[in-house]
Symmetry: C2
Subunit: 147 residues, 2 copies
DNA sequence: TCAATATGTAACTACAATGATTACAGGTAA
DNA sequence: TTACCTGTAATCATTGTAGTTACATATTGA
């Protein structure tokens, strides 16, 4: 099991839109950078748009961020691209035997621990913004240009 | 996407073995409590055995914990049942375009953030033991028997 | 020794999610 | 009107999950 790469692609898209904000970030252009199909990019951009992270218009090439760089966290992207349903990162087996003391209690006992773990993960993602990622890209580029 | 219920079933199995330690926890008995097929239970028990969490022997009915209750964490179970590969909870799209400043940096920039988030999740799981779960089951049973 | 019973495991199935691809409807602008 | 874009549906190959059946292998009691 792995969380869909829609998440990392979503981050890629937002970062690219910012880095190339003076140009036109069409789905085809972004697809070449991500190395996938434009339709895949358009689908993910549709999710980012629905979540209020970017502005895109039918018929008009390009996209722009709908919020400030520093106001978009990785958690926002994670939620936007719908890779994990709320409180369902972990799945719990259904219909355990109610005639067994373990069976009739296990779900309620396990659930809060699973939610805690998922919350810890999400809090971590919330501490990183697209601005951080953009700056990291710029820093990496500066370092490498010196060699 | 959801992390396989093998994880919650694994917790169920270990808890049941402890609660019924005076009896015989055969795969068929456990399967009735979990409400699934004995072969599914045997497969998961094989993973728990391989990870050194339980003792089982071919031909001999039943199983017992291989370690102290308080020495088995949910993280141990999580790793044992192989629901997520090491550092691969999140997947990152492969082969982004190296001719693009975002494409050639994005993987290295994103990866540490993903690992941090996964680590936060795992640390949370590490703080809960099978002993905690067993005690929760017993406490729930006591509470409900009073009504 | 043999019959009964258990674990270990392979093979097969149905089902769902992912990611790629093609196709096309509908919007925009020169 | 033409060219190009976004939005979206349909299809496909691949993969993981969970259930099921079947059977080899191990153990124990009669």
């Amino acid at each position: 099991m792995s969380i869909s790469s829609r998440f990392s692609v979503g981050i890629h898209i937002l970062t690219l839109i910012e880095i190339d904000k003076d140009g036109v970030s069409s789905s085809e252009y972004i697809a070449r950078s991500v190395n996938t199909n434009p339709a895949v990019i358009r689908k993910i951009m549709g999710m980012l748009k629905k979540a209020g992270l970017i502005k895109v218009q039918p018929g008009i090439a390009g996209a722009e961020l709908a919020r400030d760089l520093s106001d978009i966290t990785l958690l926002d992207v994670y939620k936007a691209v719908n890779v994990v349903k709320d409180n369902e990162l972990f799945s719990i087996h259904e219909n355990p035997n109610p005639d067994c003391s373990v069976g009739r209690n296990i779900q309620n006992i396990i659930e809060p621990h699973f939610i805690s773990a998922q919350t810890a993960l999400e809090k971590t993602l919330e501490n990183v913004t697209i601005e951080n990622v953009v700056n990291d890209v710029k820093d990496n580029e500066k370092l490498n240009s010196k060699h």
